[in-house]
Symmetry: C2
DNA sequence: CTGAAAGCGCTTACAG
DNA sequence: CTGAAAGCGCTTACAG
């Protein structure tokens, strides 16, 4: 390791000032092309590495963004938010920023504990991925750095949220089922757990209503798949079965298909199934799910973009950004001949 | 946001020097209990937040550790390394360190591109999770900060590796199968892909040899499940089937069980299956896998511990640390009556 | 184009 | 116990 090379070392070697070195390396004007080239070359030869801490101290920016994900969303087998996290980290890198990661523990969320990285002045801003409980939301939105929330929202238009357009996408998906001749359509998901699932449920209802399908009738095929906190639980099939199920996510759709198959039903021959997310590529037993593809790239880009603007104190319009999905048609839906 | 509160602000308010404030807040000696209490109280009231950048600049430490994971190990559905990453991040937090995350892109790995965080002086050390190609390994081991490698190793005892004791654990698992009366035992996994899988394969072979089971005979039930880079591929069952399969990981064990069930075989009644990892809690159709539980907590703790010592220039014995597994006996293995 | 000076916020010797 | 001084490595005005 040894002593780190500084700008001053380069300056001495070339008999120029550190100011000139600084300008040259930062590609700022005020240095002749000749000297600039020379400086860059020598910096390279000497193995110079920029000292962010110094820049940080001077400029007041850490060039870090904190990513906070509630623990319960990254349990074993739940890799959706990991993928989203990865996209966000990539996007930050594009902006010459780094992702500093913190898992939000159950207890810290309940007790509304402010992330340590805030106290430690470690980050210029924060991105919270996944719905947090109300008290935590209230706490986090008043930390002294900008915050962007991803994949959920609250009734609070003073904050920035980047979400999937759950409502319209699920409306589209359900409408597709109806176009394929289905009218007995169940729903799998706890609409009391997160805003995303709730909106998907409402999109599903919108399609039913629009097509004069009796909501009460369909409610007999409603299956609850998780508790209020969003933690999966094992579920039972309904007593009678519809011709199609709308699932709040692909994970649960695969579970449902397994359960149906165990009971001897075939998908889609006997029962059609649609999911939501499309982040898993695999298909089960040759059945590929018709689903809505969440546009993680655009979500990540948008969230980072908003945060950067807030950090740089640029004007940003506050509120909810809805990123629309792409509907993916596969062979988990059968056309009914009526 | 406004202007940040500094130690000097606190000092002025209390008519003491910044030196005294610094000592008081850092719990260093040389301040009377009375003044120390007063300072802490005022710091709190004024909303003082420590400026790490300043400390960093002075002390030369960033209090960040970079976590690097090759892209191919965090594809959709592969959450093992995410879990490990989470444990490592938690462990770092214990040490008042932060995890700075960087995905290693395919191309950067091939071209042995040094992580940006190194050039940017962002981290005091690095933990690489998952096996990287040889050229990348050679590059990364000579970066100017300490490095610890997790979950793989190379023939290089100048470096620090923290791995699972794959060899002995798989030897134990396979021995268990043999004790249960199995002698026709297949293996699923590409032993040419990673050091982990290779060692598991050799542990399996050790158990066979020790029990005078013909290796050649068993090789007819060898199934390749992934390419050399470790990326999963769809696999076919062997023509004939053994009474038991040893799988290189739980993921693949579940896949195998699915394939067996599709072909009408029951687990464990017709064919026994053992896996490796035990990080997935779910069981398929009531069959819970007999497997070896990787001790992620100890691995994370050990890796962070070694890295901290290296960062603080403490003496550390270099080489491979093997963390042993716990064998988990479940109902995916049937006792044969011979 | 070039550079001397000041300062970002903290901590480490050192002196009283 | 208490504090004045120096310095970590950089950048931003400002002057030449």
């Amino acid at each position: 390791m040894g002593k780190a090379v500084t700008m001053s070392d380069i300056a001495k070697k070339l008999n120029v000032s550190t100011v000139t070195v600084s300008k040259a390396l930062a590609d700022k004007e005020g240095v002749s092309d000749e000297i600039r080239a020379k400086i860059k070359q020598v910096a390279n030869e000497m193995g110079y590495r920029y000292n962010v801490a110094a820049k940080s101290l001077r400029g007041g920016l850490t060039y870090n963004v904190g990513i906070i994900i509630p623990e319960r969303f990254i349990e074993v087998g739940m890799s959706f938010y990991w993928q989203l996290y990865k996209k966000v980290a990539d996007e930050l890198k594009e902006q010459n920023y780094y992702a500093v990661f913190e898992i939000l523990k159950f207890s810290d969320e309940e007790n509304a504990v402010v992330p340590k990285m805030i106290y430690d002045n470690k980050v210029d801003g924060i991105i919270v991925i996944g719905q947090v409980v109300m008290e935590y939301f209230e706490t986090i939105k008043s930390v002294p750095v900008p915050v962007v929330f991803m994949d959920f929202y609250e009734k609070d238009n003073t904050q920035d949220f980047v979400i999937t357009d759950n409502f319209h996408s699920m409306y589209m998906l359900t409408s597709h089922l109806i176009e394929m001749g289905h009218r007995d359509i169940g729903f799998v998901g706890n609409f009391k757990s997160t805003s995303s699932i709730q909106d998907r449920y409402l999109g599903y209802m919108k399609a039913l209503i629009e097509n004069d399908i009796d909501l009460n009738r369909c409610s007999q095929w409603y299956i609850n798949d998780r508790d209020k906190e969003g933690v999966y639980k094992d579920f039972e099939l309904t007593e009678t079965l519809p011709t199609a199920f709308v699932c709040n996510c692909d994970n649960v759709a695969y579970d449902l298909m397994n359960k149906l198959q165990e009971r001897g039903y075939r998908v889609p021959e006997d029962i059609s199934v649609v999911g939501f997310d499309n982040y898993k590529l695999s298909s089960k037993n040759g059945v590929a799910l018709t689903t809505a593809e969440v546009d993680m790239n655009t979500m990540a880009q948008t969230a980072v973009d908003i945060l950067m603007k807030k950090i740089n104190k640029d004007e940003v319009k506050k509120g909810i950004r809805q990123i629309s999905c792409k509907i993916i048609l596969n062979n988990s839906v059968k056309k009914l001949h009526s």
